[in-house]
């Protein structure tokens, strides 16, 4: 059960604001969730919902304007010591969306994969570095000889493997995968998803899987958080979320999943989310509550009571 598992990452009331003081834009507003060791946590939302910003805030690319990110019990957001910073870079790595855009076109694979090693292990003997690169390439199913080639010589799926090798060479514990398969073809997607699952099993990796495609997230994630306009709407074990979606936004997302089934598609009924149904007010503000073990929903008291009824409590 989740409570007995070790919390690897805690996000507490995270807030990320862009723009200057006069024109602030809050991309992420009061988001809290935990990620347990060894699990895959899926973060789903539309474009502009702030899902990527959360990932980037965790890895310290975007500065946090409120709240905390706690990794293995240590606060890693805001100002941290140099030592902790290095530790974080080591332990948390990222896989990017578009393998066509995220690899340096003018660098050989050898350099792309070892860039992190150059930055953090400046004194690493050349031979050891080469061994590490070869091992990383092999672990993603590429040949070590590929190290001497340039990115344009590879197909999309292979390039995404290079992106994964670049993350693995640092021997991270936690990987943030930001839409890692949405730029790939259907048949290649399956290969990359399988690779990610296999690596998780072998190395006990923990993933934060950011995506907009719920069907993919359902397949790979243990738990899913649904985010809309910078706020979490619902968080639950993935099967539970699909069985009992409570929040209207989650329901509309689920209703829109395209299914490869003509008869099912024909009978599909689209639900459109209308944020004005909530009627939040000063006296009845939205709360973030756990309605059943591990299943959190955002809603006012009145709404939460309704959701409880749906769950049969």
């Amino acid at each position: 059960m989740p409570e007995t598992r070790e919390k690897l990452l805690e996000v507490r009331d995270l807030k990320v604001t862009f723009g200057n003081r006069r024109h602030p834009f809050t991309a992420v507003d009061g988001v809290s969730f935990d990620i347990y060791k060894g699990e895959t946590f899926g973060l789903v939302g539309e474009s502009g919902s702030g899902k990527t910003t959360i990932g980037r805030a965790i890895i310290r690319v975007n500065p946090v304007s409120g709240g905390q990110v706690i990794y293995k019990g240590q606060v890693i957001s805001g100002k941290v010591s140099r030592e902790l910073d290095r530790q974080v870079i080591h332990d948390i790595q990222m896989i990017f969306q578009d393998p066509m855009a995220s690899l340096n076109e003018r660098a050989k694979v050898d350099y792309i994969v070892s860039e992190g090693l150059y930055a953090l292990h400046a004194g690493l003997p050349e031979e050891e570095r080469r061994e590490k690169v070869a091992a990383a390439l092999e672990s993603v199913g590429l040949l070590p000889e590929f190290a001497s080639r340039f990115p344009h010589e590879f197909s999309g799926g292979q390039r995404q493997r290079i992106g994964i090798a670049r993350a693995l060479v640092m021997e991270p514990e936690f990987i943030i995968a930001d839409e890692p398969i949405s730029a790939l073809d259907v048949s290649i997607r399956a290969q990359v998803l399988n690779l990610m699952s296999a690596l998780q099993k072998d190395r006990g990796l923990t993933y934060l899987f950011i995506a907009h495609d719920l069907s993919v997230v359902r397949f790979i994630s243990d738990r899913i958080g649904v985010i809309y306009k910078g706020k979490l709407m619902e968080l639950s074990g993935s099967e539970k979320l699909f069985a009992h979606p409570l929040h209207p936004y989650t329901r509309s997302l689920l209703s829109a999943i395209p299914m490869p089934d003509p008869i099912g598609e024909r009978n599909k009924k689209l639900l459109v989310y209308d944020p004005s149904v909530h009627q939040y007010s000063e006296t009845d503000p939205p709360l973030w509550e756990e309605l059943e073990p591990g299943h959190f929903v955002r809603g006012s008291r009145r709404e939460l009571d309704q959701y409880r009824k749906v769950l049969g409590q």
């Binding site: 999943i257 490869p260 003509p262 598609e265």
Partner: protein, 349 residues
């Protein structure tokens, strides 16, 4: 409703080649396909399978190094493959056959107002001027579900959201009342919730304007939603054609099996997803036999030697695979496919 005998667009033995640094790439290898009036046809395939090139050839939009090396494209008694001048193409492109591109971010001009861009189309193709052109543009905007058209008409693309922008692109495409609308990955760049709305819009326009639509996509969820018929493309060839239900519930070609099986929607959590090994063939080289054979673990010997002909499964369903030859051994489709048939296709005989 589509009439089986009323063919609006017919591709016959089409060969398309590209010359790249002295090498010849055979992008389309002898493909024949009939498109029926009023139907909605989906062409499915991975990137590089030639699905975009195939449809672009019907609009004269091939890149400069690409040529139609053989075959015919018949449209209303004219052979489009024989067109040589831009003037000839202008009688077809936009007017008779129009296209909606993938990414609304890049297919609109950021420096021109949305109204101007729609007017451009009606001025060119319908010869309207001044107030008449503006009226046509406003109507086109309203037809694609954009509110407050007078104000929206004067706005620039950046003032529109992604979904709204795609609506504008569709408005431009249908403003000239084409008979055939080609939608090249119309929703790939959009969010799922918006995607469903755009697909509904295209379907609704299709009914209202009696369009024939051709969708090009790799998303089988979209295909299941919109298509009357499906053509599956692999390595520059159509390998299976059939009604939507036939291809989803009773696919015959091993590539179609593999494509459907690798969908995460059909995967079981904790188990490996079915994945196709290897990569598609390099079309710079001659393809022998069935192009999918090297990636097909159950390929027959003949698959490597001779290209299979089309075998009829039903009057509307045919596939290019030796498995349908009466002499072929019986190969069962993978478990996922049988599962899909049992689950979704309950009402399908």
């Amino acid at each position: 409703m589509p009439h089986e005998n009323d063919i609006i667009l017919s591709f016959q033995d089409l060969d398309i080649r590209f010359t790249l640094r002295g090498q010849v790439l055979k992008a389309i290898r002898g493909v024949s396909l009939d498109v029926y009036r009023g139907e909605s046809l989906a062409i499915v395939g991975e990137s590089g399978s030639g699905k975009s090139v195939f449809t672009k050839s019907a609009m004269g939009l091939l890149d400069a190094n690409g040529t139609i090396a053989g075959g015919h494209i018949w449209y209303e008694g004219k052979d489009l493959a024989a067109f040589t001048t831009e003037k000839e193409w202008l009688t077809i492109r936009g007017k008779e056959i129009a296209m909606v591109m993938q990414d609304p971010m890049t297919s609109l001009n950021p420096l021109k107002t949305v109204g101007d861009q729609i007017e451009e189309a009606v001025v060119l193709h319908q010869g309207l001027r001044g107030e008449a052109a503006k009226q046509a543009a406003l109507e086109a905007l309203a037809a694609v579900g954009i509110d407050d058209v007078e104000r929206r008409y004067k706005q620039y693309p950046h003032e529109f959201s992604g979904g709204m922008r795609q609506r504008v692109v569709i408005a431009i495409a249908v403003a000239c009342r084409p008979k055939v609308l080609i939608c090249d990955e119309p929703t790939t760049a959009l969010d799922v919730t918006i995607q469903a709305q755009i697909l509904d819009l295209i379907k609704q326009l299709q009914r209202k304007l009696e369009l024939t639509t051709i969708y090009i996509t790799h998303d089988l969820g979209v295909v299941a939603n919109v298509a009357d018929r499906i053509a599956v493309m692999y390595a520059g060839d159509i390998i299976e054609v059939g009604k939507c239900e036939e291809v989803f519930y009773d696919p015959k070609h091993p590539y179609t099996w593999a494509l459907l099986s690798s969908l995460p929607q059909l995967g079981v959590k904790g188990q490996e997803l079915y994945s196709i090994k290897g990569t598609p063939p390099n079309l710079f080289y001659e393809v022998h036999g069935d192009a999918f054979a090297p990636r097909n673990p159950q390929a027959l010997n003949i698959d490597f030697v001779e290209r299979p002909p089309f075998f009829d499964v039903s009057p509307t369903h045919k596939a290019r695979t030796w498995l349908l030859d009466p002499r072929a051994p019986k190969v069962e489709p993978p478990e996922h496919i049988r599962h899909l048939r049992e689950q979704g296709g309950k009402s399908y005989a």
